[in-house]
């Protein structure tokens, strides 16, 4: 058995037993939903349906209802797309990269973070689809034999790479999440008293029995999926950044984009995990499993990736001057001092200044402070994408083409609507699915649980030679 240093803070607080873990995580799902859940769900659903309405209107009328013009041909749509994809990067990073690094604290957050990833990438996927305008011909992006002769999609195009990257990421992320859920659904199935929920969970659990061989396969499949998902995480946001980096627009044409986007994605993803988990742990009384130490670890990740993002901003500024390219230099000068200076200032404050506060141990261990910063970071990351996309476009080479971007109510409605839909899905997840991996938490109870960790060795630990 693995031994952990006594000085390390335990990951599971209190005197938990295996059964207590099951109770703590299944309990809130089996009980009646609190009134607050219905209130939040109704609000999220109404906002989500409003968003769906806006999308319907958009599809029926055309994308002219968005506040874009000839100069600024990408604005809120792609901003929202990149923002959601970015948020969707924490889940797989937590479950895959941290699994490979054997970071046990991920067990408290990986299930919820993966769910967040899937819903966020799903929301992201809406934007490229609807910005086609004619959604019903969306299948044109697939390389399928068609009636136009030998007309294939262009495999040289980063936009097509994006199609493959996002769909691979979404589907592999879903499979990873679901394979982890199967044993926990079996736990819920075996505890269920009501026939309907018993039936539902027994369908969802696929007849999982927990045989030694099944667990053997389970562990290998998780490891291999983590190994596959790790490069996938990095590739997906790199490819999203190629949408900009391979173009010749000053402000987009930057080789620093892939690492900078990936760091930004992890940064905003972890912030979203913090926002959600801080509420979830309170609402579902999971403070013993997700406590200050976990929050601190995540804040350190936010601090590190925030610093990478900050460095990237400054490098970008330096290179725009150092390159000697007049247009490049102007694009960045205009970003900071032009009509969109406020967006640039918001981005700099939220993304560069705020994570640096995490150097203070008191602040990074404070729940309230973490919650505020996590929201600030996501506002900042939205502005980052807005700054990159809109300020690079709004000053064209010809001053007669200069323009400004004003969002219409449809722009805002679709964006707010995806936030509503996201929380609708998330609330459903938190209501019916185990929000923490029950089986995996049990594996770390003896090594990292408070009651076992530094207790004298009662079991024959000496004959464990691995």
């Amino acid at each position: 058995m693995h031994k952990e240093a006594a000085i390390r803070e335990p990951l599971i607080l209190g005197h938990k037993t295996y059964h207590q873990i099951t109770e703590d995580i299944c309990g809130p799902i089996e009980d009646k939903a609190p009134r607050m859940w219905y209130v939040l769900f109704s609000i999220a659903l109404i906002i989500g349906l409003y968003g769906v309405g806006c999308i319907m209107y958009l599809l029926g009328t055309g994308i002219g209802v968005w506040g874009m013009n000839k100069t600024i041909n990408w604005a809120w749509d792609i901003t929202n797309f990149v923002w959601w994809v970015g948020i969707g990067h924490a889940g797989t990073l937590i479950s895959a990269v941290l699994l490979l690094f054997r970071q046990r604290w991920r067990m408290a957050i990986n299930r919820a973070a993966e769910a967040m990833t899937i819903f966020a990438v799903f929301m992201a996927g809406i934007f490229p689809l609807i910005h086609m305008g004619r959604l019903w011909v969306g299948y044109f992006v697939m390389p399928i034999p068609n009636h136009f002769g030998s007309l294939w999609v262009n495999f040289n195009s980063p936009l097509l790479w994006d199609v493959f990257a996002i769909s691979t990421y979404l589907s592999v992320g879903f499979v990873f999440w679901y394979i982890g859920l199967i044993p926990d659904f079996a736990t819920l199935r075996d505890r269920a008293k009501k026939p309907v929920s018993k039936r539902m969970y027994s369908i969802l659990s696929f007849g999982w029995s927990g045989r030694a061989k099944q667990w053997n396969r389970f562990e290998l499949v998780s490891l291999v999926l983590a190994g596959l998902a790790t490069p996938l995480v990095f590739s997906v946001h790199s490819i999203v950044s190629f949408d900009f980096a391979t173009s010749v627009i000053p402000g987009w044409h930057t080789t620093i984009f892939p690492p900078y986007f990936v760091a930004g994605a992890v940064f905003s993803g972890f912030a979203m995990v913090q926002t959600i988990m801080l509420i979830l742990r309170k609402a579902m009384k999971l403070e013993a499993y997700l406590h200050t130490k976990h929050i601190e670890y995540m804040n350190i990740v936010i601090m590190v990736t925030g610093s990478i993002v900050g460095t990237a901003y400054i490098t970008e500024l330096f290179v725009s001057w150092y390159s000697g390219v007049e247009y490049e230099g102007y694009a960045f000068f205009n970003r900071a001092t032009g009509p969109y200076w406020w967006a640039y200032a918001a981005m700099m404050t939220c993304n560069v200044v705020s994570p640096q506060l995490m150097w203070f141990k008191k602040l990074r261990r404070s729940m309230l402070f973490t919650f505020i910063i996590s929201i600030v970071v996501n506002i900042g990351m939205w502005f980052e994408r807005f700054v990159i996309i809109v300020t690079s476009l709004h000053r064209d080479y010809l001053p007669s083409s200069w323009s400004m971007q004003y969002p219409t109510h449809i722009d805002i409605g679709v964006y707010i609507g995806t936030i509503g839909l996201f929380f609708t899905f998330y609330l459903l997840f938190a209501r019916f699915f185990p929000v923490m991996p029950i089986a995996e938490l049990k594996t770390i109870l003896k090594t990292s649980g408070e009651s076992y960790k530094n207790a004298p060795d009662t079991h024959h630990g000496h004959d464990e030679q691995h």
Partner: protein
């Protein structure tokens, strides 16, 4: 003699592991172990071989890579070469850099999905499959060891029962199999 299946229940993974070790040392064959989470180190004791799903995943990935390469070569080089700024469009190798992202994505797509599918099939875990754990508590906090009399013809049922009782079990159950 009718075949009997004995289910010995433990409430701790380490006790079960020690028990299994002792039983195996005495020559008992343990048919299976049901546990709420992976009990590390149990597989070599009861003779469960390591899964080969990793190899399968590699092969699926290789298949995906091949398919992506063949596909993109056909679409972009053979069937409809695109003239992009007069750059050579007649050889796959000279254009390969642009095809790397999709080759990678498709490799991962095939490796992950086909492995997951194989995993579900060989595990007999598919939607609608019945659960086969002997006791509902094995998905909560109990661990069950399954021993079949047909695997252990050298011992009588009573002998096995006696040996099991020395290993710290909390419950013993048995089932006749026709």
């Amino acid at each position: 003699m009718a075949e009997k299946v004995i289910y010995a229940m433990y409430d701790d993974d380490d006790v079960l592991k020690d028990g299994a070790k002792k039983l195996v040392a005495k020559g008992i064959k343990v048919a299976d172990v049901f546990s709420p989470f992976p009990v590390h180190g149990i597989d070599p004791i009861i003779g469960v071989k390591n899964t080969r799903l990793g190899i399968m995943s590699f092969l699926y990935g290789l298949g995906g890579l091949t398919l992506a390469t063949i596909g993109m070569r056909y679409f972009m080089i053979v069937d409809w070469p695109m003239n992009i700024g007069g750059k050579p469009s007649f050889s796959y190798l000279e254009n390969m850099l642009a095809f790397i992202p999709i080759s990678f994505e498709f490799t991962v797509l095939c490796a992950a999905h086909f492995m997951a599918l194989t995993y579900l099939i060989v595990n007999r875990t598919l939607p609608g499959m019945p659960a086969r754990n002997p006791d509902p508590r094995t998905t909560d906090d109990k661990f069950v060891m399954e021993i079949r009399t047909s695997d252990n013809t050298g011992f009588s049922y009573e002998e096995i029962e006696g040996m099991l009782k020395e290993t710290g079990i909390i419950e013993l159950d048995q089932k006749e199999v026709k």
